[in-house]
């Protein structure tokens, strides 16, 4: 017979009360785990989306001339004769040390051309990589599949009164409009997008590219290191990391994380209060029993040990179930929170913290009841004596 036998037997006997205590902690811990798991999954999901579809590195030629701009990034003097990047060297991007982190590489050529007496910006792209990179683009018609097919910005289409199926002569070559980009609110609205090599010819820039957008997987690599490695390969280019886009999205997640912590603290507080009230009730209910313990020679510390051990067991069960339950809820809720969102998986560190937190809270909430129990005057506890 050890003190823990008394604790275990009491919990076993008062199953209803134990379930109630466990439930209090379960709700608290499960809420924390759910919110943190969802936050982590969201964070990963957004990182993946950024990595797969959004450019986070831009490479442009170094230039001292005035320039036009695209997407807020300076172009190497599209209006003036200037140094362009050599298209043949673009595959070198994939020879850097962190090449496995390189996702999409989207080269483009930019230049002005005159259409029906008006200047317009042409952008030659590799459609396969460009459309994968700009996954938010929407259009009417069919995206270009041939070298002589065009995607027209909404503003350009309105200006030149162009519709899907219309023909347009650029330079000396005739192109067909196969799709019109829906308004994006960005530079693309006022440009004409066509095949990279076809536009190189139109602009007289064969074998040249004006800029390269790169999507890198950067969850476990420093993006600055990637930028440096690419810059080393292309000394005549200016390589820039687009931090802002990433930062703003991460800030949203951080905001959600802070909100989650707030909710979690509130729920944990309520859970602890529940444990405290139940433990106090339990101690009051067991006054006589505690009197017997004290009368047969149990020290105050022995009584405290019994109560706190019960709290520890309750905390352990509540923590483990809360962790498993929280992950289960996150698994089910993730697709509802983010479209096509996936559960990030079990985080065992979070599991350890959740269980320890549950035990600590249970012990903390039971400390005063245990102290009250141990301080019971045996003669008052045993009115029969």
């Amino acid at each position: 017979m050890k003190l823990y036998n008394i604790s275990f037997n009491n919990l076993n006997r008062r199953k209803g009360k134990m379930i109630f205590l466990v439930l209090g902690l379960f709700i608290g811990i499960a809420t924390i785990v759910t919110l943190l798991s969802i936050t982590e999954s969201m964070s990963r999901d957004i990182e993946d989306q950024l990595d797969q579809f959004g450019a986070n590195i831009v490479m442009v030629p170094k230039s001292e001339n005035l320039s036009l701009s695209y997407g807020g990034v300076s172009m190497g003097g599209v209006n003036y004769k200037t140094v362009e990047l050599d298209e043949a060297r673009i595959p070198d991007i994939r020879t850097i040390e962190y090449s496995k982190n390189i996702g999409l590489v989207a080269p483009k050529v930019l230049g002005a051309a005159s259409v029906k007496g008006k200047d317009v910006l042409l952008m030659g792209v590799d459609f396969e990589s460009e459309l994968a990179l700009k996954n938010w683009w929407q259009w009417e018609g069919t995206p270009p599949a041939q070298a002589d097919e065009l995607l027209i910005g909404s503003q350009t289409a309105a200006t030149f009164n162009l519709a899907v199926g219309d023909s347009l002569v650029l330079g000396e070559k005739e192109f067909t409009v196969t799709s019109i980009l829906k308004p994006t609110g960005a530079t693309e609205d006022g440009i004409i997008i066509g095949d990279l090599h076809a536009f190189q010819k139109v602009l007289g820039k064969e074998g040249k590219v004006s800029m390269v957008e790169i999507a890198a997987f950067c969850r476990d690599c420093p993006i600055t290191e990637l930028v440096l490695q690419i810059a080393e390969k292309f000394p005549d280019a200016k390589v820039t990391a687009l931090r802002q886009a990433v930062m703003s999205k991460m800030q949203s997640i951080e905001l959600f994380k802070s909100f989650s912590y707030g909710i979690a603290i509130l729920v944990i507080f309520i859970g602890s209060l529940l444990v405290f009230v139940t433990m106090m009730g339990s101690v009051n209910e067991r006054t006589r029993e505690i009197g017997i313990f004290r009368a047969i020679g149990f020290r105050r510390g022995h009584v405290m040990q019994i109560i706190l051990l019960e709290a520890m067991v309750v905390g352990l069960i509540g923590g483990v179930l809360g962790y498993l339950g929280g992950n289960g809820i996150a698994l089910v809720a993730m697709p509802l929170v983010i479209k096509n969102g996936t559960f990030a998986g079990f985080n065992y560190n979070l599991g350890g913290v959740a269980v320890l937190l549950s035990i600590a809270l249970s012990l903390l909430a039971s400390l005063y009841p245990a102290q009250k129990a141990s301080n019971l005057d045996p003669s008052e506890a045993l009115r029969a004596l």
Binding site: M1, N5, I6, R14, A295, I296, G297, L385
Partner: protein, 236 residues
């Protein structure tokens, strides 16, 4: 009696327990109630003493004071020359664990522990190993005639059997002093006789027993009777 925990003074021992001018007052609102006015008596080693009195006479209060459970308002109790209320409450807990067995009124068994576990309860804080505890508890259960009922829960036993479990729990640690509060109070006469016979047997084997009762029939086998009335000792 030697106590390493409580450091009793070493001088000539005359009585096992010496009660010197103890009194106990309770506060009831603004009124002070004297549960025990003044008592002076002694109990020698090996005695079987009955403390008799009507309900509310102060006999149960006296027993709780003798058990170190209820601090008297005045006076002192010397247990083998040791002033037990000069000790801290934790030291008194150690004293009870080693030297005093208590048989409570209405058995006071722990309902979620089996008979065997209830009997082993005082051993849980002694550091004795599981097997040794088991042997001691089973031996004492055999002594009170409950072999075979070790794994039952208290509510599966009759009143007499529960009283036997309470006695077994009180003596499992072999305490030299046994305090019994109305041990036959809730039993029929036949079962009460059996319990008294058991207590007499324990006393004959050397245990000092102090029994509180209001039933004169329970005193037939005791070595001495102390009458308590209105918080005072009248005869001893």
């Amino acid at each position: 009696m030697n106590s390493t925990n409580t450091n009793p003074a070493e001088h000539e021992v005359q009585h096992l327990i010496e009660i010197r001018g103890i009194g106990k007052d309770y506060q009831d609102g603004e009124t002070t109630v004297q549960a025990i006015k003044q008592m002076d008596f002694y109990i020698d080693d090996g005695e079987f003493v009955a403390i008799m009195g009507q309900s509310g006479s102060g006999k149960s209060t006296l027993l709780s004071i003798l058990g170190g459970l209820n601090h008297p308002s005045r006076g002192e109790i010397l247990l083998d020359t040791l002033d037990i209320y000069g000790l801290s409450s934790e030291q008194r807990a150690d004293l009870r664990s080693e030297y005093i067995g208590v048989i409570f009124q209405s058995f006071q068994l722990i309902p979620y522990l089996t008979v065997l576990e209830n009997v082993k309860l005082p051993l849980a804080i002694t550091g004795k190993k599981g097997k040794q505890q088991d042997k001691m508890a089973r031996d004492v259960l055999a002594k009170v005639g409950l072999t075979g009922k070790a794994n039952r829960l208290p509510d599966q036993l009759s009143g007499g059997e529960q009283e036997r479990v309470a006695i077994a729990r009180a003596i499992v640690n072999k305490p030299p002093i046994l305090l019994a509060d109305e041990p036959t109070g809730s039993l029929d006469s036949k079962t009460a006789d059996e319990i008294l016979a058991l207590l007499k047997e324990l006393n004959e084997k050397g245990q000092t027993i102090i029994m509180v009762t209001h039933n004169p029939d329970a005193c037939k086998d005791t070595t001495r009777t102390i009458q308590v009335k209105d918080g005072s000792c009248y005869a001893h």
